[in-house]
Symmetry: C2
Subunit: 210 residues, 2 copies
C-alpha cells in the first residue's frame, strides 16, 4: 500500500486526535492505551504505531490535545481589569457545561499521570505558575481600584486557583449537587470574601482558633 497523500495524512491525523479525545473522555488517562485508541478508530494497533511509536508519544499527543482544546474553548467575555476579570478567568475553569465538565474531567485525570513522572510534573507545576500569573494582574488592579483590601496578589491568585480547582473535583463527582448556578454562587461568595475589609495582620481581629 502506498503511503497516504499529505491531505489524507492530515485527515487521518484528525481522526486519530478525535479517537484519542473519545478515549480520554470515557476512560481518562488511566484508560489511554494504543489498543483503546485503535479500537475507537476501528484500525489495528499496528497501524496506530505509525503515529505513536510508544505509549509516551500517545500521552504527549493527548496532553497537547487537551491544551489545544482548553485554549480554544469559548471564553467568557473578560472585563479588561479588576475583580470582574479574575471572576471571568475563574469561571472558565469550572465545569459549568457538559463540554467544560468533559475537559475538566480529563485535566483531573491527567494529574495521576503527571504526579508519577518528573517531566510531566514540572510541566503541570508550570501550568499552575502561568495560571496564577494570569490572575495576578486582575487582583493588582482590583487592589489599586479599592475593590479589595491590601493583600498579596500572588497569594490571592493561589487561593483563588485552589478554590476553583477543588470545586472542579467536587462538582465532577456530584454534578447534581453542584449545578452551574451553585458553582457560580460559590465562586461569587468566595470573591465577595476577598472584597471585605480585613482585620490588621497579627492584630486582635477574629482568629480561626489558633
Amino acid at each position: 500500500m502506498p503511503p497516504p497523500a499529505p491531505g489524507d495524512r492530515e485527515a487521518r491525523r484528525k481522526d486519530v486526535s478525535e479517537a484519542v479525545w473519545q478515549v480520554l473522555a470515557a476512560r481518562g488517562f488511566g484508560g489511554l492505551t494504543l489498543r483503546a485508541v485503535a479500537a475507537a478508530m476501528g484500525v489495528s494497533t499496528g497501524m496506530l504505531t505509525h503515529y505513536f511509536p510508544s505509549k509516551r508519544a500517545l500521552v504527549t499527543h493527548a496532553l497537547d490535545l487537551l491544551e489545544e482544546n482548553t485554549a480554544q474553548r469559548s471564553r467568557r467575555a473578560r472585563p479588561s481589569a479588576g475583580l470582574g476579570g479574575a471572576r471571568a478567568v475563574l469561571l472558565d475553569l469550572l465545569p459549568l457545561t457538559p463540554a467544560d465538565a468533559g475537559r475538566s474531567r480529563i485535566w483531573v485525570s491527567s494529574w495521576d499521570l503527571s504526579l508519577a513522572d518528573d517531566a510531566l510534573s514540572a510541566q503541570q507545576a508550570d501550568r499552575y505558575t502561568r495560571l496564577r500569573a494570569t490572575l495576578r494582574p486582575f487582583f493588582e488592579t482590583a487592589r489599586a481600584r479599592g475593590e479589595i483590601p491590601a493583600g498579596d496578589p500572588e497569594h490571592l491568585a493561589a487561593a483563588a486557583v485552589a478554590f476553583a480547582h477543588g470545586l472542579v473535583v467536587q462538582a465532577l463527582f456530584a454534578p447534581g449537587r453542584f449545578p452551574e448556578e451553585v458553582q457560580i454562587a460559590m465562586l461569587d461568595d468566595f470573591l465577595t470574601g476577598l472584597t471585605l475589609p480585613r482585620p490588621p495582620a497579627g492584630g486582635g481581629g477574629p482568629s480561626p482558633g489558633r
Copy 2:
C-alpha cells in the same frame, strides 16, 4: 509447596499491602499493576493472583488501604466545636508533612480511576458527602457562637473542602512554593474570610463584577 500456615498468611498479607502502598506512592493508581506489585515483593505475578484474582481486586484492596492509612494518620488535636474544629479537620487534609503528601498524592491519583468507573465514582461522591457532613457541625457551632456571620453551614463546608483540596493539588505539584507554613497561612486567610461581616445578600455591597 504446602499452603502457608495462618500466621504466615497474615504476615504475607502485610507484605502484600506494603508492596501495594510502595507502588502507589511511586506511581499512583495509573502504575498499579499485578506485575508492579509482584516485582516490589520479589515474587511472581502468578503467586500474587492468589491474593488478587483480578486488577479490580487489586484496586479495591489499594483503595481500602488508602482509607485505612488515612483513618490511622495522627490527627491534630481537635477543639470540641466551632471554627477551630473546622480548622483542625481541614489541616488534616493538607499535605503538610512528607507522609501527608504521600497520602494526598495517592488520593489525587485515585480520582482518575474513580472518574472512569461508576461504582468508584459513587464511592468518591459519598466520601465528599461524609467530609462535608464532618465539617458542617463545626460551622453550625461557629455560627451559633457568633464566630462567623449567618450562612448555610453546608455551603461553607463545600467551600472549605473545595479550598483545601485545590490547595492539596497545587502544593503537590510545587512543594517548594507551598511549604507547610504557606499552606497554613492560606487556610487561615480563607477561614478569616469566613468570619468577616458580609453585606446583605442581593444588597448594595461590594460585588465581584457581576
